[in-house]
């Protein structure tokens, strides 16, 4: 076999052919290796910068750091809103392979409601990528421990400690401080609008909130969101492919937000809140410092605990807040009520100023008023009248309706509208709360556009006793009271006295600091104020029993507002009508008379007469503030006014 093969095979030819093939093969090998090298040269030399950048982008991430929100203090330095650390279960969606599976497995370990899942997914959809979003907040220590033990099963999920707002005084301040809420799609749109408005580069504000999950939704938290928020910081970090931070490369610290220092006095606020709760009152009390326009207390009852909203309120808990008592409703700034007789001093001042009455003008009071050529009788609260004739002082002290029916007709709606706007009715008080309502200061134009009807004289008559179309907020009422106490100076009401950041303080200067009403003939104002003083005094004052034995001199005015209109020949009888149609009790006042420290408005829904219900509450409030807080010297006030001797002696 071997021989036969030898005979056929040409070894020499085969060997040289093999040699040629080997050379060709080596040539091809070298050629292809050069081809590979050319490729690597392209990648590593020509396109090096491009890949270098991509490699950096892969590993380096700039992540925002949320600033610490500014704190809120009362005038005595008590902390009203603080930041507390809470633990939240957070997910970086981009690092989760199968979101449904991850959420499902988390739900097997923790109590997570459908609602929380929905909210989480909603956030994920709209907020920036590669951020972490909370699916469950307020984890307790045990839950944190459980998760830590199982963390390796959950790529992209972690327990994070976050600062959350906490309100130590809970319900008593919610209508002042407001509350926080998750940033929504609408908020993001508003941020963009703000950029456009302030001619900033688009996305500036969003960037500022890149690490922030919540923003102020109500009250001071909302109004001062910009100052409270602070400036976002950033951190350049190196991460691995799962987004885990390997090390921090650079860090720019965030700047904490500004602190707010309020005019508000926590003790007074709590006292008022407590008094109203004791009486079971729905309503609002606003107390201001006349010399500054600073709000000392602003209470709306009933109320609710804003801490329930931290970490998202469940719809079940939220339903509980939607009762007929409406605790979510901020009566002090949003409630609009007929002012009733509380605006009589203002109307009297206007009448004197406009010259339609004089201090000696007296009108007949049969217990009713009627317009010429009309037999409709506008009844006085005192069916038999306040005497044969009534002058302006008596009309205020006894709250004579007939006198003011007559006065309003003398003034006419145009004068009333212009005059009352001077006291701040029909316009915002300028308080630092966005939700503020203006109520209605009626005028001919208003009625035409709102009701499509002309103004009738009968409309003016009702305005005379603060009824009819006229509605005010408790805030406006308190402010108008402060104007009288202040001899015509009207300040913008403010809750915040000053801001501070890193121990640098900045006073709060409202846009419109004050407005001066023409009081050139001081006697008009003095007459009105004296009348208000007599309201709290014997023998005829409507608030005399409430202020009996007061250790200071107070000026005031009661009001009782009809909620339901009563037919011409019907008697008002509280026992016969539903509670929600009971009269609203009102009181305005200030004290001490000579150097007013507090001016307030009390508004009690369906509580009955102002003198018997609202005035006693005002007395308790003034007692607390003047005697317990300010410790006003009785002798000093007594020496300035003879009339106070009775009160001081007791």
């Amino acid at each position: 076999m071997l021989k036969r093969r030898e005979a056929i095979k040409d070894v020499g030819r085969e060997t040289s052919m093999f040699f040629v093939r080997c050379v060709i093969a080596l040539g091809i090998v070298i050629g292809l290796m050069v081809f590979l090298l050319v490729r690597e040269f392209k990648l590593q030399v020509i396109d090096h910068n491009k890949y270098q950048t991509q490699s950096e982008n892969n590993r380096i991430r700039v992540q925002p750091i949320a600033p610490v929100r500014g704190l809120i203090y009362d005038q005595t330095g008590k902390l009203l809103a603080q930041n507390r650390s809470i633990f939240a279960l957070e997910i970086v969606p981009e690092q989760v392979d199968d979101m449904n599976d991850t959420v499902e497995r988390l739900r097997q370990m923790f109590d997570i409601t459908d609602e929380q899942v929905e909210k989480f997914l909603e956030q994920v959809k709209f907020r920036p990528k590669f951020n972490s979003y909370a699916i469950k907040t307020n984890l307790d220590e045990q839950e944190v421990a459980i998760f830590s033990a199982n963390q390796h099963f959950f790529a992209g999920v972690s327990v994070e400690a976050r600062l959350e707002r906490y309100y130590p005084y809970a319900a008593s301040l919610v209508h002042v401080l407001g509350r926080m809420g998750a940033i929504t799609q609408d908020d993001l749109v508003r941020m963009d609008e703000k950029d456009v408005r302030e001619k900033k580069e688009m996305g500036t504000t969003r960037q500022r909130y890149a690490a922030t999950g919540k923003m102020g939704k109500l009250g001071l938290e909302r109004y001062y969101e910009n100052r409270l928020h602070g400036e976002v910081g950033s951190e350049k970090v190196e991460t691995d492919v799962r987004g885990r931070i390997v090390r921090v490369l650079e860090r720019e610290e965030p700047q904490a937000g500004e602190d707010l220092h309020l005019y508000l006095h926590l003790g007074l606020q709590q006292k008022i809140s407590q008094l109203m709760k004791e009486k079971g009152v729905r309503g609002a009390v606003v107390a201001v410092e006349p010399s500054t326009g600073g709000v000392l207390a602003m209470v709306s009852e009933p109320s609710y605990d804003p801490n329930m909203f931290t970490g998202g309120i469940s719809s079940k808990d939220y339903q509980k807040l939607l009762t007929p008592e409406r605790p979510l409703y901020n009566r002090a700034v949003q409630g609009t009520y007929p002012p009733a007789s509380t605006i009589k001093p203002h109307l009297a001042f206007l009448g004197l100023k406009e010259g339609v009455i004089t201090p000696s003008t007296r009108i007949a009071d049969p217990g009713w008023f009627s317009l010429p050529n009309n037999d409709h009788r506008y009844r006085d609260w005192k069916a038999w009248g306040h005497g044969a004739t009534v002058g302006v002082m008596q009309a205020i002290v006894e709250s004579c309706d007939t006198f003011f029916y007559d006065l309003s007709v003398r003034l006419g709606i145009n004068n009333i509208y212009d005059g009352m706007r001077q006291f701040g009715f029909g316009q915002k008080t300028g308080i630092d709360i966005v939700e503020e309502k203006v109520g209605i200061m009626p005028s001919r134009d208003w009625k035409k556009s709102a009701r499509g009807e002309p103004w009738y004289n009968g409309d003016t008559v009702n305005i005379g006793i603060g009824q009819g179309f006229w509605t005010v907020t408790p805030l406006q009422l308190a402010n108008a009271t402060a104007v009288l106490a202040n001899d015509g100076i009207r300040y913008n009401l403010q809750l915040v006295r000053e801001f501070s950041q890193d121990n640098r303080f900045e006073a709060n200067t409202p846009v419109m600091a004050y407005h001066q009403i023409d009081t050139s003939d001081g006697s008009w104002l003095d007459l009105v104020k004296d009348s208000m003083k007599k309201v709290t005094e014997p023998p005829r004052g409507t608030a005399r029993s409430a202020f009996a034995d007061a250790e200071y001199i107070a000026a005031g005015k009661t009001g009782t507002a009809q909620v339901k209109s009563i037919a011409q020949d019907e008697e008002y009888d509280a026992t016969k009508i539903a509670e929600k149609f009971h009269d609203n009790a009102l009181f305005i006042g200030y004290a001490p008379f000579e150097q007013p420290k507090i001016a307030l408005a009390v508004m009690m829904e369906n509580a009955g007469g102002g003198g018997s219900n609202a005035a006693p509450l005002a007395r308790d409030i003034m007692d607390y503030y003047l005697l317990d807080v300010l410790k006003v010297n009785q002798a000093e006030t007594a020496s300035t006014d003879e009339e106070s001797k009775d009160g001081a002696a007791n």
Binding site: F18, L37, Q44
Partner: protein, 374 residues
């Protein structure tokens, strides 16, 4: 020239100890250099895990042992056993199809006490068989011999392709064709085969390729079409290599690999780690080492004393080149992703043992010359 060299060796009466142990020193040095390089890169790519390096060392040890054992087997013996070896391989491949174990969607494994892939046997059995068959024929082969050779190559290729394991089947086909090429296949056949291949390619696309294989090709053509899915590997490996630049980011400093952006970094994509950390310089060194090993392989083959040795040696050497070319081409984005390791550098795999076995055969060819002819 080949004859002259071997004649010169004849007069060296005394052989070194290593020669008598059938070790070719230059080839061994080239392989050891590659292994050392491998350990460096595996240590870095494996997250500085010494355990990984240890296991790689053990595998290299096993490979060197197999190489040493095979080097003792004279080419003549290998040739005599070739048909049996080949037949056993075919039986195993059929067994895999009917009784094999599947993993990752492919049926490649068989359990005979130890789990192994019969296709690994075929990497050696096919070139040995074809070389044994053609060695006795007058070369270049006649058409009849060519057809039989092709049948010897294509039977196992098809059996492996249906497992499916495209990468291995192509390698085995290549190793068989290389034997035929070195046997003096006429150029017009080569050109003709390439032409037929181009016609067959679309047919294969529609009738025989699996979805995942089509996906790989599509991804190769446009990796950015699916940057987080199948294109991810290619994009990340190119970023790794490209960001390495000329000098590299330094050993253990490759961010793409250390931060785990690079998938399969200690196995199939280890070349990207090398490129990132050692730069173009490192790649040139690696290719130079490979070139040296290939040159030595071809040199040994040229000195082979019979057709069998020559054909087998050259074919095994070129198959080694195909390995590294396909792997580097794939990692650099020149070729579609095929699951082939970088020879002697990638961590793990039975491929190290198989490769070292083929170098054992080369050493046998080199060192059995005198003894054989004496």
């Amino acid at each position: 020239m080949a004859l002259r060299t071997s004649a010169a060796n004849t007069h060296k009466a005394r052989r070194s100890l290593l020669w008598r142990l059938h070790i070719d020193v230059p080839l061994l040095l080239g392989l050891l250099a590659l292994m050392a390089f491998s350990l460096l890169v595996v240590y870095s790519a494996g997250g500085e895990s010494l355990a990984l390096v240890e296991r790689q060392v053990i595998r290299f040890g096993a490979g060197l042992t197999v190489m040493f054992l095979l080097a003792q087997v004279a080419p003549r013996t290998l040739k005599e056993w070739a048909p049996l070896f080949f037949l056993i391989g075919i039986v195993f491949l059929l067994a895999v199809i009917f009784f094999g174990e599947s993993s990752k969607g492919a049926q490649r494994w068989i359990d005979l006490g130890v789990r192994f892939q019969p296709s690994e046997i075929m990497k050696l059995a096919v070139p040995i068989m074809v070389a044994a068959y053609l060695a006795d024929k007058a070369l270049p082969p006649t058409l009849k011999h060519l057809v039989i050779s092709l049948a010897l190559v294509l039977t196992p290729t098809v059996l492996i392709m249906i497992q499916p394991d495209l990468g291995t089947s192509l390698l085995i086909a290549a190793s068989g064709f290389f034997v035929i090429f070195f046997a003096g296949l006429k150029w017009r056949y080569i050109v003709g085969a390439l032409g037929i291949g181009m016609i067959l390619a679309p047919i294969m696309w529609y009738f025989t390729m699996e979805e995942y294989q089509k996906g790989r090709v599509l991804t190769f053509l446009n990796p950015e079409s699916d940057p987080l899915g199948s294109g991810y590997h290619i994009i990340q490996s190119q970023i790794a290599i490209g960001s390495g630049g000329i000098y590299g980011k330094g050993w253990l400093n490759g961010t793409q690999s250390q931060l785990e952006f690079l998938p399969e970094r200690h196995t199939d994509f280890i070349f990207a780690v090398l490129g990132e950390e050692f730069g173009l310089i490192g790649i040139i060194i690696l290719l130079a080492l490979y070139l040296f090993v290939i040159w030595r392989g071809l040199y040994i083959s040229l000195q082979g004393q019979d057709s069998f040795s020559r054909l087998l040696g050259a074919a095994l050497t070129l198959t080694f080149f195909v390995y590294l070319f396909v792997n580097i081409g794939m990692v650099s984005g020149l070729l579609p992703v095929v699951g082939l390791p970088l020879p002697l550098i990638s961590y793990g795999g039975t491929s190290i043992v198989t490769l070292m076995a083929s170098f054992g055969i080369l050493m046998s060819i080199q060192t059995h010359r005198r003894l054989h002819s004496a």
